[in-house]
């Protein structure tokens, strides 16, 4: 083991690990030259041990104080307003985040309920329900559009209403009408014979439901049924014709608007159930 001067200095300054220190001690016991060198280092350190210590008397303290005192500015307690302001800002931010989260949560609740209702819907309506489940952004859009049109019919509330739809037959009628109008809206050319039969059946049913809604004072539903009835009457009365004439006819009927109202009513029904 080689022990150099630095290691001897570290030994005397107490900078070695216990293991290394024992190794140096063992080497010093065996090597006289190394021991002499070690003693010289120890002597050097002793020569600088302690050293002169300044005497601090009253005169020196006074002199030092007089040297410092003129430079001392009057300190002011650190103002805590800034800290409080910072805390207030932080608390406001947290509160704002909480409000935003709450609003998001409240908006999500109806959709969640809708999904639950759809899962338990009747088999006859499961197809439409599945479509709606997959089209939740579309439903949201309908909601938004409906909310912007809450007053549509002669100053009375529009179809977007929270009034429960109790009649299961009426719900089925809405479902069937919606599917029919979707089909009419997306198909080209004259309607097939079976579709025309479905139109006629719905027309008869629609007259009953329109009348019932009017009697119950549900004018919003009655108005939608009235619009639907006019479309159905036109479709039922229209003779078979060429494809171009059928397309022009659909544009004229404005099927899209009626379909929109129907979807909202249907959505309300599912939500209430």
């Amino acid at each position: 083991m080689t022990i150099d001067e630095n290691e001897l200095i570290a030994y005397h300054l107490g900078e070695l690990s216990a293991l290394r220190k024992r190794a140096v001690q063992a080497a010093l016991e065996k090597d006289a030259t190394l021991a002499a060198e070690s003693e010289e280092i120890a002597e050097t350190l002793r020569a600088f041990s302690g050293g002169p210590v300044p005497v601090v008397d009253a005169a020196l303290v006074e002199r030092m104080w007089q040297g410092v005192r003129p430079s001392l500015a009057v300190l002011e307690p650190r103002k805590k307003e800034a800290r409080w302001r910072w805390m207030f800002g932080f608390a406001s931010g947290v509160a704002a985040c909480a409000v935003v989260m709450l609003l998001l949560f409240v908006h999500r609740v109806p959709h969640t309920q809708e999904a639950v209702v759809q899962d338990g819907a009747a088999p006859a309506q499961s197809e439409t329900a599945a479509v709606q489940h997959n089209e939740s952004p579309m439903i949201q859009e309908l909601h938004d559009r409906g909310a912007a049109k809450t007053v549509r019919y002669n100053g009375k509330p529009g179809p977007l209403t929270m009034v429960p739809v109790e009649d299961k037959g009426f719900a089925g009628h809405l479902d069937a009408a919606e599917r029919l109008l979707t089909q009419v809206n997306h198909e080209e050319g004259p309607l097939p014979a079976e579709t025309r039969g479905e139109v006629h059946r719905l027309l008869l049913q629609n007259a009953v439901y329109q009348q019932r809604a009017q009697v119950k004072g549900d004018y919003a539903t009655a108005n939608v049924m009235d619009d639907l009835g006019r479309v159905l009457v036109t479709l039922d009365a229209a003779p078979p014709q060429s494809a171009e004439a059928a397309d022009a006819f659909r544009l004229e009927m404005n099927v899209g608007d009626v379909l929109f109202d129907l979807r909202i009513l249907h959505h309300n029904k599912l939500q209430e159930r």
Partner: protein
């Protein structure tokens, strides 16, 4: 346990003084200064090796501590805090002075040891001469060190500060601070061989007097 009680009582007193100073009572700061001046002046004296510079460094340390007193959180005692500030102030002065070419000559011409330094009153004139010569040689040896070596050596060996504190004060890694101390001891060892001879002479003088007596 009594020492702990005394220390905690002193801490309470210091905290109260600090509170008063921060509240605007400038004169209360004198209490802190009186209490910690000896330790601060000792370290500044050892690092700068000059009474004038030591006092300047000490004043600067107390002034810096005062200006930062509102930010003093009390993680350490005020004494430890101002001591570290004093270390930095001394180091700054030594570095500033090392750029002044005339510094060594002035110090070497001056009297070894200042008027305010402790001396044994029982020394004979011969011993005083030998002590004086020995002191001059020690000072000369110290002046062979770079500011960093001197500061590192003084803080480690004389002030018994740990290496990490020294490294922090010097703004270098711990290993560099350690190497600076080793280099300092090595240089001092070579420079001090004449002192060793003086010590031997001093011992011989003492023995001769005893024989004569």
């Amino acid at each position: 346990m009594p020492d702990d009680c005394l220390t905690s009582r002193m801490d309470v007193v210091e905290q109260e003084v600090i509170r008063r100073v921060v509240a605007g009572d400038r004169d209360a700061y004198r209490v802190l200064m009186e209490r910690h001046l000896p330790a601060v002046l000792r370290v500044t004296m050892r690092i700068t090796a000059s009474e004038v510079d030591a006092e300047e460094a000490a004043q600067e340390a107390f002034l810096r501590a005062y200006n930062k007193l509102a930010d003093f959180k009390g993680q350490s005692s005020f004494g430890t805090w101002v001591y570290r500030i004093a270390m930095n102030c001394s180091l700054n002065i030594v570095e500033r002075r090392s750029r002044d070419l005339g510094w060594n000559a002035v110090e070497m011409d001056g009297e070894a040891g200042g008027a305010n330094q402790v001396r044994s009153e029982s020394v004979t004139p011969e011993q005083a001469v030998l002590d004086g010569e020995s002191q001059v040689l020690r000072e000369r040896a110290m002046q062979q060190l770079t500011p960093m070596e001197r500061t590192a050596f003084v803080l480690r060996h004389m002030e018994d500060q740990p290496m990490n504190t020294i490294a922090e004060a010097l703004g270098v890694p711990v290993n560099s601070a350690k190497q600076a101390v080793f280099r300092a001891v090595s240089k001092l060892r070579k420079e001090l061989r004449p002192v060793k001879r003086i010590a031997m002479l001093r011992t011989a003088t003492g023995i001769a007097k005893e024989v004569q007596g």
